[in-house]
Point group: C2
Chain length 362, copies 2
Amino acid sequence: MSELAVVGGGVIGLSVAWRAAGRGHSVTVYDPTPGRGASWLAGGMLAPVTEAWPGEEDVLSLGEESLRRWPAFARELAEEGFDPGLSEKGTLVVGLDRADVEHLEILAGYLTSLGREVEVLTGREARRLEPGVGGSVRSGLSVPGDLAVDNRKLLVSLRKAAEQRGVQFVTETIVDVESVDADVVVIAAGAWSGRLHPALAGGVRPLKGEILRLRPRRGCLPPPERTVRAVVEGRPIYLVPRADGELVLGATQYEAGFDETVAARGVRELLEGAERVFPSIAEYELVEMAAGLRAASVDNLPFIGDLGDGVLAATGHHRNGLLLAPVTADAIVALLAGSELPPHAEAAHPRRLPSLKSTERV
Amino acid sequence: MSELAVVGGGVIGLSVAWRAAGRGHSVTVYDPTPGRGASWLAGGMLAPVTEAWPGEEDVLSLGEESLRRWPAFARELAEEGFDPGLSEKGTLVVGLDRADVEHLEILAGYLTSLGREVEVLTGREARRLEPGVGGSVRSGLSVPGDLAVDNRKLLVSLRKAAEQRGVQFVTETIVDVESVDADVVVIAAGAWSGRLHPALAGGVRPLKGEILRLRPRRGCLPPPERTVRAVVEGRPIYLVPRADGELVLGATQYEAGFDETVAARGVRELLEGAERVFPSIAEYELVEMAAGLRAASVDNLPFIGDLGDGVLAATGHHRNGLLLAPVTADAIVALLAGSELPPHAEAAHPRRLPSLKSTERV
């Protein structure tokens, strides 16, 4: 079995390491702060459809494939003693204006065509489901099958499970994959992946996002039971409840290079939007604010596969790192075993990277 | 010289301790976290007039008296090696609507009658003075004589200067003044003072406020040079620049008992208001959010004076603790020397406390 180096200890790197170690590889993860980065700041929704953008069929089908793998993935972790906190409470998407009503109906039709259970709701029905939903909510869509995971619990679980399988951790920053001594190197460095390999330099860019964590103060209405999503003034927001009572409110999305500072506007916009959807959040304690960098690609698909010279890509997961962790880890493990990329992951092949494309032409 | 115990190490307690030690008293300050509390979270404006509410003449004249003492107070600290960071850049009060225009004219008349230099400005003139002021600002009032102090620098300076004068610090929470071994006890415990003495229990209550600290990100317009104040949708806000480039944005004001958690609404309201007044703050980094408790009294005047049995009050300073520190410390030192309360501090005598009033009647 090969010596495997994984550069990046976010949800993708840890999942790859854990799975690869389970197949007998000798794995080392390189990350100055494993278990942190964008994965630490995520909401944890595992909801490919309500996350998908129109026309992103490849993103959607990869997400659906990964969603199917999530329960077994979580169970396997739990069986090893590290429960990742999978929630099956579903999602409530709410609409605030007339355009939203139409959008939710289209989404409902689409979900139904995929065989998913959905229910279109009036504003009143949405409030019956989640009493904290505000009076300005006019429509709703209940998606009971949607999953969510406690991203922080997951990261801690993955790291411990990986260590239990013998994965080594080196808390160093890798700036050049050539310097890593291994048979195969997997680049799973999120937004920083472009700095590690010339082919990824033009393919992965940082996409900044602010995210907040809140907690009900005494006398406040409790958080919603389900994930609640909405688009407020063109900006998508989500509220994801955690089992410990915390409520994650995310996320802004804009280009700002590698800037990871929390901008005032981001915080204001998130709070303003959330108050429209779930008014009592105004009285919640704001316990944490942070900004992270998603690894975005032009087509919103990740890069999973061979970059040549013993280097594999597992990056560019955009807003979908947590969702796509199982399918990515499985694909990398298949490649390590000498198999081809599975058909459902074909669209994520790095051959669509501009630099690799031009090489093919030559 | 007497043994003096000061309960509370905020700006009032530290000022009293420093000054009393300078007169030869043997002083001990009791505070679990000296130099923190509400003083740590303040904006640091020393602006009695733009802070005064209509009809609060006693508050105003006490404030004016203290303001006159501030330059010497700061100089004395600086001469001992601990510069408190006094700024003389002045205040720009801005108005957003027609009612504000009128309000600023009344304020200008009042300030002129007090012999203070003021200038009434149009919105355009206000923007000439502070280029970051937003387009929705319609009027302004420049008050060049207003002072501001870097509250954190001041607290550190006062503590060091007090230590240099031999003041002892005991980092314990006092719950009963009876337990303190001293000739005289000064209660300077801010919002918690009511828990230390029955007479103060009905006189001092906590008044919560959120306050934020921001810093320009790369490419942002720099902070204003002056303190900028406004009332946005009935809520007063201030932006106070610090010499190190930080901008303090405060403050909300509401009753919430002893709750010191940062509420989402407070953060949202401050950011929203600040964006109206100084739009580029939206791109600033939000580096700190906090909530503190002012020690409010019914008439907004502090309690400075004798509570009987060797206990003196120096509390209830509401939003004016930093401003009133010199005048309070001087009054307490006068009392310790056997003098009467100075005439300008008479209105702050604790004899107006309900419980002491009824005692007098008996």
